[in-house]
Homo-oligomer: 195 residues x 2
């Protein structure tokens, strides 16, 4: 996805060999034109799958999922990280370890929003160690729903998440895969179609 | 906005005379068709104003702002509540008291995303006591930017936020205003056009 690579090269900041900051367009300020291109691309890549619901996680997955959902014409459910007074008591929940924040947090979805007949597409901004994706997959499994696939905007190909998910037979589509940021420059993997 | 009133009547849950739960379509599961209607309506109501940026707050404002931004053709910036390792050190910040959670939290936006030449439209799901809106307005002021207006999906007209903002001369557009939920049923104010 050349449009996305260009944006990463132009506006992304490599903060360390592991950390890519994309706050100018993806997770603090949002480039809506880019999000639309991302949404269209996810729809194209998963057009062979039936999708009844898109599942993501707050906060940075929400805009990506909401814009993409326009192409799939399905509702979005976003899993909550922060305990909320208004959240149903009756939830699916799982623990997710954040390597970035070095802490474990709970992720919850109200049970009424995931059903056994759902075919769920998980969308998120980053895939690194895969903790958030595995947590969301766990919620789908608890609901007895089917996983249609996992769509990721930026996969850090030098971390374990992508390998783990593919080894597990998950239909994973990452719009770009980064193989290295060691030199301070972003090296993209050539093959984008990654299943 | 009849479409929104219908959705609230059909799927909203009055949990107490102050609490309206809209998790089935607005802030946990997201009805994307409804969000599009909301975005179009915000654009119509603010079409006399120049808007260069939409500002909202995580998490439930993000989808509303992102979908609406497609009609305004401007970027979204969402203020962050949770301290994040990747957030710039150089931020505008302010304290917001949450009546729902009975706690004060910090709200931050990286300085590089709000400039004196910006004309900022603030969008959010609810307006109750007005704490979040006032906090976001404070960030706009710190940046020396101009406030184009505040757009709210659901205003609780029986709480103080709307009165305070209007008394302050803020161009406030609430798509629906609820006058009472005392009977367990939602009573909407007749006049929608609220400036």
């Amino acid at each position: 996805m050349q449009f996305l690579k260009d944006r990463i090269n132009e506006l992304g900041e490599v903060r360390s060999p592991e950390i890519l900051k994309v706050d100018r367009f993806l997770n603090h300020q949002l480039d809506i034109e880019l999000l639309n291109a991302i949404g269209r691309e996810f729809h194209k890549r998963f057009e062979d799958r039936t999708v009844t619901k898109i599942l993501t996680i707050e906060a940075s997955g929400i805009a990506i999922a909401a814009i993409a959902a326009q192409y799939f014409k399905v509702p979005v459910v976003f899993a909550k990280k922060v305990p909320s007074q208004n959240l149903d008591a009756d939830t699916f929940e799982t623990d997710v370890f954040s390597y970035t924040k070095k802490t474990t947090y709970k992720v919850r979805v109200a049970r009424k929003f995931l059903h056994p007949q759902d075919q769920v597409l998980i969308l998120d901004d980053f895939l690194a160690q895969g903790q958030a994706a595995v947590g969301l997959m766990n919620l789908v499994q608890q609901a007895g729903a089917e996983l249609a696939g996992v769509g990721i905007v930026i996969e850090k190909g030098f971390q374990e998440g992508g390998r783990l998910l593919r080894a597990d037979g998950v239909r994973l589509e990452s719009l770009v895969i980064i193989d290295s940021m060691k030199s301070g420059a972003v090296q993209f993997r050539e093959t984008e179609q990654s299943y």
